[in-house]
């Protein structure tokens, strides 16, 4: 669905373009970090703390070192990223390097660690109380007011509104990424040069982390990545490179493959934060929202910098509310760090304000869709709180309208809990949610690319990033092929994921790779195109055209042609014949309007490039068992412009499955007294399997708003497609008339029955 006119593409967006790395995947040749040096490496394992808070007082590795096959032991004194202070149960405290991973793990159990136990606090509500023990993660407080924004006079607006409502929303779910590829890396030293293979969503960023950790010159740190197993934000850091490098250094540079077990991988890497909220509304009887006072509280675990501060974003930007207050308090607790998951703030944030919106609608005896549409902002409207910021392309309103039509919402919606009994006795419910998203161009960070031309006229794209679920490098191939006017099959992946030979393509998160790296490769291809055309006009077939200049040329289907007479054309192979090796490089920021002016932002000026998405869910709730079945789920995502069509469809489809997972399955079990995680494995973390998804009831639609700042109008969709699991929570409310509070976990049957008063 096109919202803005844009030129037709030859390569970009074509469904028939396959993933260039498909063969690697299906043959077992997709090389992940540990897939190397068979029989020629040692193995590392880590030991984790068994207290929630305290200090290590003694580490005795005598027994471990006596074990046959054990080469060395490391502690926080060897590993720059480890600490002597303990801040959560499961924090790494020691490691073993051994001949095989089994010896390494067994030897970890023989390391004796003594702690000085100190009072800590696990529960976020306890941590916020006056007099609570300090977690020690922030120097003098367990809380931080990360966002405190007033627009107009919300107190007066709410007080004077005809209708007032105070709502509270309980904590959303805490879950772990649990990426199928456990965290692992292989490192070795050659002299004072470090080499590491890691899974990574930002290999150049990981290199910076390693450089800083060891205080090394950057030209002596060589990081590599190819295939990354899942990721979803959990592989944006150094991903154990620092740990395995320290281990390797301990054994004189021998290659060490650190593989964290499933349990330890889940303990030591980031979790999704749970967020609760108190939201006050002031509105008219017919649903015009006059004011809102929204306070959010998020558990950041042991991460002092947990990225929770923008969880209000969708509420702030999606609706035209003249007077508003938004506050976000981040809480630290002695529990594993919370960090990036897909779309960071937006999934739990949306699950809060969407529940509050639906409560307001119910209070007004109003269809929530009507409430949403009465207050939604127009596409391309400027930011109410920062008028200099506009969004280059937003399609939220259009997506809501499409979902309303496509889902048959008008004929299916009913008042919550009323007139909704299906033939089989289950309760039917439907809901639509959506928002502007806080992610998109990663704040316009500059990203680069290098494109090389082969002597036969084919091209190679050299991407400074790896390949995760969405196939980011393939997006760059599409952009280069389009820009050079080449056939898709004539452009391949060259060097990728190597920090030595590529430019920083950015982070495969925040939907930033498409817009950031995409802009870099757009400019790299333009650079190369200019060079190619300058040689083309010297070649037979074109050089005899009187007065010909590079501006007279264009390219399509891997041929360069004279625009005034397209029959005069030569192939890129002919261009490269006798031509020296050519490469193009470029970089760009994704936060400047390139394609069109937007609102009050003229061409060439700063604007945002954010994603946005909407979802609708139709559910059946069994009032006897509490089981929820998602009958249909629609996922509409604004891509700006769809670049890698196959990858985009997969992302949106998986987005629906991930929304179902967040709503109904994801969770965790803890012993609150000790802070111990009891569910650091797939079974107890309730990871879904194929039996949880009917499959045939997922619907996807990509919207192309033609983002003014994005390369070819694209702004990426990697994250927004997972953010609207509130659609399922709200659909359950529509079905039952009762709110099933996530209570830091999924909407399991027992919670549904409890909400229905049956348990």
């Amino acid at each position: 669905m096109a919202l803005v006119e844009r030129p037709e593409m030859k390569v970009i967006g074509k469904l028939e373009n396959p993933d260039k790395l498909a063969y690697h995947v299906v043959t077992g040749n997709a090389d992940f970090a540990s897939d190397r040096l068979a029989g020629r490496k040692l193995y590392g394992a880590i030991k984790c703390s068994t207290i929630m808070k305290g200090v290590i007082t003694k580490i005795d590795a005598t027994k471990a070192l006596a074990e046959p096959g054990v080469k060395a032991v490391v502690t926080h004194e060897d590993v720059p990223s480890w600490k002597e202070g303990i801040f959560f149960w499961g924090q790494p405290v020691a490691g073993v390097i051994a001949d095989d991973p089994f010896i390494a793990e067994r030897a970890c159990n023989l390391i004796e660690v003594e702690y000085e136990d100190r009072p800590g606090v696990f529960d976020p509500d306890e941590a916020m109380k006056s007099g609570a023990p300090l977690t020690g993660i922030r120097p003098d407080s367990n809380t931080n007011l990360a966002t405190n924004l007033d627009r107009g006079d919300p107190d007066t607006a709410i007080a004077n509104a005809p209708v007032q409502l105070e709502t509270t929303q309980g904590y959303t779910t805490t879950y772990q990424h649990a990426t199928l590829e456990p965290h692992q890396s292989v490192s070795w030293w050659v002299g004072d040069n470090l080499y590491s293979w890691i899974p990574s969503q930002h290999i150049h960023g990981a290199k910076n982390s390693v450089v800083n950790a060891f205080g090394m010159p950057a030209n002596k740190v060589h990081l590599f990545t190819h295939f990354t197993g899942c990721g979803h934000g959990d592989k944006t850091g150094d991903n154990t490179a620092i740990e395995s490098a320290a281990m390797s250094r301990k054994v004189n540079g021998a290659p060490v493959n650190l593989i964290k077990t499933r349990q330890k991988s889940m303990l030591t890497h980031s979790w999704m934060f749970a967020i609760k909220s108190e939201i006050k509304w002031g509105a008219t009887a017919d649903g015009e929202i006059l004011g809102v006072d929204a306070k959010f509280y998020g558990d950041g675990g042991s991460n002092a910098m947990a990225p929770i501060g923008n969880c209000h974003f969708g509420l702030r930007t999606t609706y035209d509310i003249p007077d508003a207050r938004f506050q976000v308090t981040t809480i630290t607790t002695n529990s594993p760090a919370r960090g990036y998951w897909r779309c960071v703030n937006d999934p739990p944030g949306a699950c809060n304000y969407d529940r509050a919106l639906y409560k307001l609608a119910a209070h007004l005896d109003m269809d929530p869709y009507q409430l949403i549409m009465k207050n939604i902002r127009e596409n391309d409207a400027p930011d109410l709180d920062a008028p200099y910021r506009v969004w280059g392309g937003i399609a939220v309103k259009d997506m809501f309208e499409w979902l309303h039509e496509e889902s048959g919402y008008a004929g299916k919606w009913h008042k919550p809990g009323e007139g909704n009994v299906m033939d089989d006795g289950r309760l039917h419910g439907i809901a639509i949610t959506g928002h502007w998203d806080s992610h998109g161009s990663v704040n316009g960070a500059s990203r680069g690319g290098i494109v090389t031309m082969c002597p036969d006229g084919t091209a190679l794209v050299n991407v400074g990033g790896g390949r995760g679920p969405s196939g980011g490098p393939i997006t760059c191939v599409h952009i280069v092929a389009e820009t050079l006017g080449m056939k898709y099959e004539d452009v391949g992946l060259g060097d990728w994921g190597a920090t030595d030979t590529t430019l920083d393509a950015g982070i495969q998160a925040g939907s930033g790779f498409t817009s950031g790296a995409g802009t870099g490769f757009l400019n790299a291809a333009l650079d190369l195109r200019g060079k190619l055309f300058s040689y083309a006009i010297q070649k037979a077939g074109l050089r005899d055209i009187e007065g010909i200049t590079v501006d007279d040329l264009d390219a399509e289907n891997s041929e360069v042609f004279y625009k005034k007479d397209p029959t005069k054309r030569i192939t890129y192979r002919q261009v490269m014949s006798g031509t020296p090796p050519l490469a193009g490089s470029g970089f760009g920021w994704a936060s400047h309007t390139k394609n069109r002016a937007v609102g009050n932002v003229p061409l060439g000026e700063v604007c945002n490039s954010n994603g946005n998405a909407c979802s609708a869910a139709e559910v059946a709730v069994d009032p006897e068992t509490g089981e929820v079945e998602v009958l249909n789920h629609w996922n509409a995502v604004d891509t700006g412009r769809t670049i890698f069509k196959q990858g985009t469809i997969k992302e949106m489809r998986s987005g629906s499955e991930l929304q179902i997972w967040q709503a109904l399955y994801s969770g965790s079990i803890w012993d609150k007294a000790s802070g111990a995680c009891l569910s650091s494995n797939y079974t107890e973390a309730m990871m879904p399997t194929s039996m949880c998804f009917k499959g045939e009831n997922l619907h996807q639609q990509d919207f192309e708003s033609y983002d003014a700042a994005g390369p070819y109008g694209a702004h990426g969709i990697g994250e927004p497609c997972v953010t609207n699991y509130s659609s399922i929570i709200c659909a359950i409310f529509n079905a039952t008339g009762k709110w099933v509070e996530p209570d830091k976990g999924p909407c399991t049957p027992d919670k549904v029955l409890k909400a229905l008063g049956k348990a």
Binding site: P18, D19, A22, Y23, H24, V25, V26, T27, G28, N29, A30, D31, F32, S34, D35, R36, A38, G39, P68, D100, P101, F102, H177, A178, T179, L180, E181, P182, F227, T228, G229, C230, G231, H232, T261, R262, R467, G468, P469, S470, G471, Q646, G647, K650, R653, S654, E657, L658, W661, N681, Y682, M687, P688, T689, S690, M691, C692, F693, G695, E696
Partner: protein, 270 residues
Amino acid sequence: MSEIEETKQISRRQFLKNAGIVVGGTAVGSSFILAACKGDASEVTKTVTVTSATATFKCPYDGQEFDTFAALQAHVEEKHQEGDAVTITKFVSPYDGKEFDTLEALKAHLDANFVSAESAPGIVSFVVNGKPVTLKVEDYWTLDFILRDRLALYGTKNGCGVGQCGACTVLIDGVPTFSCLTLGIECGGKTIETIEGLSNGTNLSPLQQKFVDKEAFQCGFCTPGFIMAAKALLAENPNPTVDEVREAVSGHICTCHNFKNTITTIAGGV
């Protein structure tokens, strides 16, 4: 031929003289140092050669041929006078061609210098993707570790190590099996198929091609496991329904959440 080295200490050394991996036909003839204990509990090591599972032992009395020494011995004891010397032909070791006058002499030679792959401690032989493999393994090594670290077959992944995710799935005698829960030492005589064995060089199997055509993967970490499970399913049920596929792969996890695409790709067969 044999080298007897007496060592004084109690040792858990176990190492191969010609290091590491033996694959396929090169398994036979590779020598290694076999640790054994003498009666006084001190350790004796000797250099022995791994023998093939099949060999031809010929009876010098009547020319009949047998696959194993044990079969030859049984035949001689039944049909001939054991201990009778032979004058025209000899008892011949099939491994090195040496000749002996008596069955006892041949047996002593074999015991001193050779050990069958099946009977040597820590030695296991199986077939991987059609190729015979004989390896020296630790008894606690899992099959996925052996495949990855000893045979460089990286396609088999380890996602959990405790049989919860299916990423390590291989076929053992055609049965989909979690290789992370399978000890390598227990795989003697088995036929193992991994993802690497499905394609014929550059030609994908129809199942792999269907995964490519349908783009039935995202990050790709779980994909080999799903494909191996699908291969086993399609061998029994060439045209499975969606529900049959869902059940067949219910032991697999995909954290990218590409279930629908994978299931519908497998359904209907190839």
